[in-house]
Subunit: 294 residues, 2 copies
């Protein structure tokens, strides 16, 4: 049996957690090399058994790789791919874990040499903490992991990535790029913007500062994802601009609906707004929970 | 030692949970009567030991009460107070658990006879489920419970309510009405509207319906409170209209800030938006957590 050489570039929450699963479940079938520009991260990654070898040298770290997981913020991926492609062996498969896929697919296609494959991927998981110190086993377990193959992607490359990802116990599925981008905007990117906006709203009431200690579980949960990595989210907004602004404008319209109803004292309209949200969310959560127990 | 007669009107999540704590900790010092118009709720409340006696008859249920907890949605409280005041014994203390205080304080003051006290209260806790079936012991434990006494409220009445509330292990504090209303809008009411809006946004993308099963922990947490009781939240919006619309308009301005920055590809502005939210939230959560461990 051939040993698979996997290189993970960017040992943050996602990269580190992938490494932990690969090493634990892949066992002797896999050798994992980790690349990061932060020295402490490299030391920690080896220490916690997320990788076998670590280096800050991109060329050194990728030259023997069968599969490369690109796990940096989205806008750093393209410059990295440009640097490494001349040093890859024939048949190497690149895959990434970025939350937006359209921009990368378009740009990577332009620079990918023949013989190197790219499989676009997106694990639907995360934590509000980031970095290798937040990495953990089973981060992907029972979570969706979306692959977004294009017409030009070889079936063998997709299957190869799927096989490695089974070690994470993620639930694999595929989607086309346009649906992925709009769906991501609606169920993930715009909620992140809204959560950050709810936190930034506090600074507009400096006189109430002392009372904000009263925040309860509602505020805490609603804004949890506002504690996410700002670099990552700035990149997501820039690389999925149109779907995100489209959804933000619609969200603004929904707030206008409530503002108008409250100003007019229209209880029926306000009640309907909350009731249809409750009904839809309860049904959605029930559906996703029943999926989870499959 | 005198036995305290406590009547709880409205045996939902809050009323039911208060009853459970009063009975468990108050023990033989207390007799709890529960009033609700729903028969099944009355049966369940007795069955789960949230009350000693239950009735759907307002007058019957309040005539011996020393303390009455008004635990219905805000807009139902005033009609109930109007009905019961002629039947109360001298010295009865009314208190409520509504999330908005200004409207009630103003209206109740007009109809409260001499010899009956009103102490305005607001427990900062909740669950997305409602009804007696969601009630549980320790719902208030270590959570803030705000009392909003007015100049006309007697100190003895406030102390009496405080004493009973120690059985819930809540953290008692006081606040003035204006601060309470604006603070409530910013840290609770507007997040509820935003959570409901994020759910209602889904209906604007019917073509993506099948993909919404992909919602992850981020969407789930951000919208958790959108599954709350619509009646309760419609009343909150109507009785705290000005502070809520003020905050919603400011929130809309923050969304405009992001929409503009994304459209212009201004990474620095987007990054700053997420970064200042992360910094502020992390500091706030750290502060509230350190309070909790006191």
């Amino acid at each position: 049996m051939n040993v698979k050489h996997i290189t993970i570039i960017g040992l943050g929450l996602i990269g580190g957690s992938l490494g932990l699963d690969f090493k634990e479940i892949g066992g002797s079938q896999v050798v994992v090399t980790g690349i990061d520009r932060d020295h402490e991260t490299l030391v920690k990654a080896v220490g916690c058994n997320a990788v076998d070898y670590s280096t800050s040298d991109l060329v050194e770290g990728v030259k023997n790789a069968d599969i490369i997981f690109l796990c940096t913020p989205v806008l750093q991926i393209l410059p990295i791919v440009e640097k490494i492609v001349p040093h890859l062996k024939e048949g190497t498969i690149l895959t990434d874990v970025g939350s937006t896929k359209g921009f990368l697919a378009q740009e990577i296609r332009k620079i990918l040499p023949r013989g190197i494959e790219y499989v676009s991927g997106h694990p639907m998981t995360g934590r509000e903490q980031s970095g290798i110190w937040a990495a953990k086993r089973d981060l992907f377990k029972d979570k969706w992991y979306i692959l977004v193959p294009e017409a030009s992607t070889s079936l063998e490359a997709v299957e190869e990535i799927c096989q490695v990802l089974t070690w994470t116990s993620a639930r694999l599925t595929t989607m086309n790029i346009a649906d992925h981008e709009q769906c991501g905007a609606v169920i993930s990117h715009v909620p992140h913007v809204a959560a950050a906006a709810l936190v930034n709203l506090l600074e507009m009431y400096p006189d109430l500062e002392d009372n904000f200690k009263l925040v309860g579980g509602g505020f805490r949960d609603t804004t949890r994802i506002a504690s996410s990595n700002a670099d990552m989210w700035a990149d997501i907004c820039l690389t999925n601009a149109q779907p995100i602004t489209d959804s933000l404008i619609k969200l603004r319209g929904l707030l206008d609906e409530v503002i108008g109803a409250v100003q007019q004292g229209d209880r029926q309209a306000i009640h309907h707004f909350f009731k249809r949200a409750k009904n839809r969310r309860d049904a959605l959560i029930q559906k996703t929970d029943s999926h989870t127990t499959l």
